[in-house]
């Protein structure tokens, strides 16, 4: 079964919302980008482009199959009905946050740099091979000069990335892997130029440029992987409201973006919409789904006068709400502030590569200096001493070391991607490998935040079918759970169905009045009116003419494989805890079923942060897995964090990992992959160190020629890459269930097939 997004009912974007999100291209032309996760083949492209292209005012539509998006150019004031058109074709579309342009620029700069470096490395290598094969005199000088000329643009353009990064690190008093690279490459070039001018025989143009080429490939792959994960996460449907329909004093309606809503304004919230800012209900009754906000799994019944928080989902009836806070002061903004304040473990974490280079660079540079002094004392020949010292720098230039970490992380991220887990960056995997405690949120994370009917077998099938028929008319989570049992054909045909927000559904069939809903309302003839006992066992009943004929009991359904996933985590020597905003009874039940080590119920968002900070102070490295708005500060406070695709938008953005499938086994899988990757990284660094212990003495003794340098450096790089690729084959394939179809898009497709 695919991931169920029913509990976070995504609302189709309204035309005002689309207009708000569109970009103006000038001349009345506007462009709208929609995420359409279900696009997967050539036929999809054609049907979408043809159907949308035919609409009035649409200039053109183009589908991007790689990012699963469609961009539409249109003109005029009215938004053409493309979301509805896509819906008719069977594709669900939603708006997403516009891209940050910066990131794309980095990618194209990297690819251009790889192209230039590749061109230069290839040509210089050809010329170098002729020199190594015995070109002499004027020919060799000519080849050296040509190489020097080709190397200049490559160093300036491709090397610029490293020079800038190295300079940045040094200026802030830090050390990174780019410092020894920048020093080595530029000194190698300077010395080779000097040699060329003086008709010397050894020039290292090939070494410096091919070094840049190799390293750029690693860096680009790393960037592409992260970009892909980011695009997939960004394409998920947005849960926060973008704006709301405002009711003006004169009765007219206006659609305002969230940022412009001020306290005192009245807004209309239709059933199925999320509430954009904190407010008080002034009109209407409804049920609210607070699972994303507070972690409570049972929908809350509301009436006029009650306060509501930003981010809750209005389920059954339309509401008029008076805003009590602007967006920047509402619950959501408060969560963001808490998260920023909590940002701790992550900012302090230093990446393995940086820690290694902080040791490596001084050692290498000192060795070169000592070599230089040694040769001056031994031979008194300045030129020879400088040449050998620079040869030491070139041979120790961390080619293998620069690839050791990113290549492993690219392979690991790819493995996770294939299993529906998106990794934001490499440091997240390094941090995940070190955790010893995993903290889970309950509602929406360990459970689906979505009730399941537990006593279906004890209900009369005819009554169950009747209830299912009625329930299909409502979007209340309890109704959805009951509606799943439709299909028995013995029930009478319904005539009029009406939903009473906050109470239930009423229908008439063959002269009888049927009600499905709260006990006190549906069973008005029954003496046992348990008013207020909403939710829990016995709260929801089906009645015929006021007499209760069936009682429904619900339970929050556990996420698939939650038990196995927690057992696997415990096998991996990770302590499992649960922090929840829900009641102690609900938590206790889940904790007992799942065998969780410890749980804390009834926590406020700040309480979760305090729990995590207490664990961190006790020396634990904490993994936080959570989905709600109330978990977001905790996600920020933890050493590393995980969120399901159904999480609130800011939670998804704050988390290091986002898993797109329903199964919770993504967590132990990612832990396993990260730990294996950590082992391979250490092996790769060891390989690089062994290479250096062999190559450095040769260089110090002055036996290094450009040919030896080229062979040694390529060999060590290939060794490191080969070792990283072992990660691809060494692991058992997909743990839970095989994924059909295209591996890369399977996760997103699955996600899409559901809602």
């Amino acid at each position: 079964m695919a991931l169920d997004l029913d509990n976070v009912t995504s609302v189709l974007p309204s035309s005002q919302e689309i207009k708000l999100a569109s970009r103006s291209l000038g001349g009345g032309l506007r462009q709208t980008d929609l995420s359409v996760p279900m696009v997967h083949c050539g036929a999809c492209i054609q049907s979408i482009e043809t159907a949308i292209g035919k609409l009035d005012h649409v200039d053109a539509a183009r589908v991007n199959l790689s990012t699963k998006r469609v961009s539409i150019r249109w003109r005029g004031e009215e938004v053409p009905p493309f979301v509805a058109t896509l819906g008719r074709l069977g594709y669900q579309a939603h708006l997403f946050d516009p891209e940050v342009e910066e990131k794309d620029k980095t990618l194209s700069e990297l690819i251009r740099a790889v192209a230039v470096a590749g061109f230069a490395a290839g040509n210089i290598m050809l010329l170098s091979v002729s020199v190594w094969s015995g070109a002499e005199g004027a020919t060799r000088d000519l080849f050296h000069w040509v190489s020097a000329l080709i190397a200049i643009p490559a160093l300036a353009f491709a090397g610029g990335i490293y020079f800038r990064s190295a300079w940045n690190a040094l200026r802030h008093g830090r050390m990174n892997m780019d410092v020894p690279i920048a020093v080595g490459v530029s000194l190698a070039y300077a010395m080779s130029l000097y040699e060329t001018i003086n008709h010397g025989d050894h020039a290292y143009f090939d070494a410096s440029v091919s070094l840049l080429f190799f390293l750029l490939i690693g860096r680009t792959l790393d960037h592409v992987m992260r970009e892909r994960a980011r695009t997939a996460v960004n394409g998920l449907s947005r849960l926060a409201a973008r704006g709301a329909m405002m009711l003006r004093g004169d009765g007219a309606c206006d659609y305002l973006p969230v940022g412009e809503i001020e306290p005192g304004m009245h807004m209309l919230i239709a059933a199925g919409e999320r509430i954009p800012v904190d407010g008080t209900i002034i009109h209407g009754t409804s049920d609210l789904d607070c699972s994303l906000v507070s972690g409570e799994s049972t929908p809350k019944n509301v009436a006029p006068g009650e306060a509501v928080q930003a981010g809750v989902l209005n389920l059954t009836g339309p509401l008029t709400i008076e805003a009590t806070a602007a967006a920047k002061d509402s619950f959501l903004a408060e969560m963001v502030r808490l998260m920023e304040a909590a940002e701790g473990g992550r900012a302090r974490y230093r990446r393995i590569a940086d820690r290694v280079s902080a040791l490596y660079a001084p050692v290498v540079h000192l060795t070169a200096l000592v070599t230089f002094i040694g040769w001056i004392l031994a031979s008194g020949d300045w030129h020879r001493a400088i040449t050998i010292a620079i040869a030491v720098l070139i041979i120790t230039c961390p080619c293998a070391l620069g690839l050791a970490v990113p290549i492993v992380q690219v392979v690991a991220a790819r493995r996770l991607f294939e299993n529906g887990v998106m990794v934001k960056d490499g440091s997240a995997m390094e941090r995940l490998a070190t955790i010893d405690t995993a903290v889970f949120d309950k509602t929406g994370t360990l459970t689906l935040g979505q009730p399941r009917l537990v006593n279906a077998s004890s209900i009369n099938p005819t009554m169950l079918a009747m209830a299912a028929e009625m329930a299909a008319h409502s979007r209340h989570p309890f109704s959805k759970a009951i509606a799943g049992f439709a299909g028995y054909a013995g029930q009478p045909i319904l005539d009029a169905v009406s939903e009473h927000p906050g109470f239930g559904i009423e229908a008439t069939a063959e002269g009888d009045t049927w009600r499905l809903g709260r006990r006190g309302w549906a069973g008005w003839k029954a003496r046992t009116g348990g008013e207020g006992k909403f939710g829990g066992v016995g709260g929801t009943v089906l009645s015929k003419n006021g007499t209760i004929v069936a009682t429904f009991a619900f339970e929050d359904a556990l996420r698939a494989d939650a038990r196995t996933a927690i057992a696997q985590l415990r096998d991996a020597k990770v302590r499992v805890e649960m922090l929840s905003g829900d009641t102690a009874i609900a938590c206790g039940k889940v904790a007992a079923t799942l065998d969780v080590d410890r749980f804390v119920p009834c926590l406020l968002p700040s309480g979760k942060v305090e729990e995590i900070e207490a664990l961190a102070r006790a020396g634990h490295k904490v993994l936080m897995v959570g989905d709600g708005l109330n978990d977001t500060p905790a996600l920020g406070a933890a050493h590393v964090s995980f969120a399901p695709a159904t999480a609130a938008d800011i939670g998804r953005n704050a988390a290091d990992f986002v898993f797109l499938r329903e199964s919770l086994s993504a967590v132990p899988l990612a832990l396993d992959v990260s730990r294996q990757a950590g082992r391979l990284i250490r092996q790769n660094i060891a390989i690089a160190v062994v290479y250096n212990t062999i190559a450095v003495p040769i260089a110090i003794l002055g036996h290094v020629t450009p040919l030896i340098a080229a062979i040694a450096m390529s060999a060590s790089s290939l060794l490191v890459i080969g070792n990283a690729l072992r990660l691809q084959g060494s692991m058992p394939s997909v743990p839970a269930r095989p994924v059909p179809g295209d591996r890369r898009s399977a996760g997103i497709k699955k996600l899409a097939h559901t809602s």
């Binding site: 050539g42 492209i45 053109a60 991007n64 199959l65 790689s66 251009r112 040509n123 040509v146 080709i150």
Partner: protein, 56 residues
């Protein structure tokens, strides 16, 4: 030696041609939708060469 005088420029020119070809393709957005490009070849356009925009 004399052959090198023109062979080297010719080799470099051809290499540079390839490089600029790649950079041009990159700039014109041909690498933005690799999966889509593979599928689009199967689509028949009945309205001839339609001017379709590429997202920037």
């Amino acid at each position: 030696m004399t052959t090198l005088v023109y062979l080297i420029p010719v080799a470099l020119f051809l290499g540079a041609l390839g490089l600029f070809g790649f950079l041009w393709a990159l700039r014109s957005g041909q690498y933005e939708d690799l999966d889509g490009a593979a599928e689009r070849i199967l689509i028949d356009r009945d309205d001839g060469a339609q001017n379709v925009p590429r997202s920037k």
